[in-house]
Assembly symmetry: C2
Homo-oligomer: 317 residues x 2
């Protein structure tokens, strides 16, 4: 059962929780965490990569577990001074967090790829598995809303997810090449599993899936593909997924998420509180798998990661 | 006597003290503070202008009066995180201070001139007088030392002024145009006074004087030129001026500073503790002026500024 690459597709905070659990299973550099970059943006001249950073901070233990995002022991003097100087202050950049953005921006400007920069920064923090951007090419998630199109962070942070969502567009996706290690792992005959973490299906996972060649490679791969529901008891653990589903005219349920991934995945992990949906999910082209999916402690993260990887191994042909 | 522009040539902390005093004399925008930019450098991808910032922080009251440089209530989380991520950490960038560098870097990248950026940031902080860079073109002060040439901040901060100085070079100075308002004020027939603040003569004031056309305009101006000694009782109030003078084979005295400016200035303010040097200074082409020049309090700064401006007015033809 063991051996071979394990790919985890991840957005920010929610995905990073399961990624942290997976990183504690002794997979070493067989674990490849592929981060959404559709949320990335340039702000105050800095290259901000919120999902990569959420994963890096979670796996290095630098994340703020109380606040649920950003770094622990964070300070806000930079933001106070930005406001004082009349700069844009709608996006909070912590004093410690700034180091990541400044060093990344400088390295990218000097010609390094986002893959290289991310590997160097993660390595510096002692992270043993591979964290890669879904692409080294720019992709910009636009949220179409009743108020017009908004770049993701403007929708998410500046406008606090208030505009009513009508659809999504991933600018640049047609020209973006999937990151090389990601594509190589997808095509590796020893590929063990692909895990879709409990991130937002529309704005965190879909950008990865929509990269040219990724869906075809996933279909061609014999390795099992298992998704974990980000919706529990009709609610999103974090973020606007449930609100988006309602606005898009679908029920905000784990079943609707399973339907969203239907035809692509082999197994769907739903929370035990949603056990009543299992029969409906089993009518889709996937097997339902029931587990406690709400990750509070590190132990929760590791247990869910073990469950998901075991389930994938059992689903393997 | 009143009316007409007053130009103050300034480096960083020492010059900024007198500049603050001058800014409290009710001159309004008749006061033009011209900042050295030879110490400016790009670091971590950011445009750092130490002398401009020292002046802006002093005049806005944001400076740290205990530490003597940088901003009050400063934090160092950014620097801690830079070190943790393996970035260059020899130059301290405070969390609040970072806002200045980030906003300036972005504005310069968007095509604004350093003059425009500086005016906008100073205006945002409520500063009423004009602070301008000596030039919008880049000039880089190189310190020649027994260990080879060093860019100024590498000599000053990274190597803590330890290498033995053999000379100075202002790279780019031949092509640099003096800032437009500075040049216009120098040529203004109503020019009231030019004040050389107690900054380092070699690395803070000389870069301004060496700009093409500045010495000629100073000689052509009928307005009095008054310098304040940065050397008191053989010591530099701050910085490496005295050490540099010794290494360059000259006595570290106010008299040697006066000789350095001989032929250019009309009056030289020396500290009362150096009164014994007055006769020798009067043998030069200038008048010696004795005052308490050590500025501890805001009142000291204003009193010295009043003294210098009154002296200039008395020296006027």
């Amino acid at each position: 059962m063991a051996g071979g690459p394990v790919i985890a597709l991840s957005g920010g905070v929610g995905g990073a929780k399961l990624a942290l659990g997976l990183s504690r299973l002794g997979l070493g550099d067989d674990l490849l965490i592929v981060a959404n970059v559709g949320d990335d943006f340039e702000h105050l001249g800095l290259n901000i990569c919120p999902d990569i950073d959420s994963i890096v901070y979670a796996l290095s233990g630098l994340n703020d577990q109380v606040k649920g995002w950003g770094r622990a022991d964070e300070g806000w003097r930079f933001m106070e001074a930005v406001a004082e100087l009349g700069g844009e202050d709608w996006f909070n950049l912590g004093d410690r967090d700034m180091a990541m953005h400044v060093l990344r921006t400088r390295a990218l400007a000097s010609g390094q790829s986002l893959t290289e920069v991310t590997a160097a920064l993660a390595g510096q923090l002692g992270i043993g598995c591979c964290i890669v951007p879904m692409s080294d090419d720019p992709v910009c998630t636009m949220v179409h809303t009743a108020d017009g199109p908004l770049a993701f962070q403007h929708y998410f942070v500046r406008d606090r997810c208030e505009p009513v969502v009508t659809g999504f567009e991933f600018e640049g996706i047609a020209e973006a090449r999937p990151q090389a290690d990601f594509m190589a792992a997808l095509k590796n005959p020893d590929l063990r599993a692909v895990i879709i973490t409990p991130s937002n299906p529309f704005v965190s996972v879909d950008p990865i899936l929509e990269l040219p060649g990724v869906r075809a490679a996933l279909r061609a791969a014999s390795a099992p593909i298992v998704a974990v529901s980000p919706i529990v008891a009709g609610l999103a653990i974090k973020g606007p997924a449930a609100k988006m589903m309602t606005e898009l005219g679908m029920p905000s349920t784990a079943l609707a998420v399973a339907e969203h991934y239907d035809g692509l995945i082999d197994g769907f992990v739903l929370d035990e509180s949603d056990f009543a949906l299992a029969d409906d999910i089993d009518t889709l082209a996937m097997r339902s798998l029931i587990a406690p999916t709400v990750m509070q402690s590190l132990e929760d993260r590791i247990k869910l990661a073990e469950f998901v990887l075991d389930a994938a191994d059992e689903l393997a042909p």
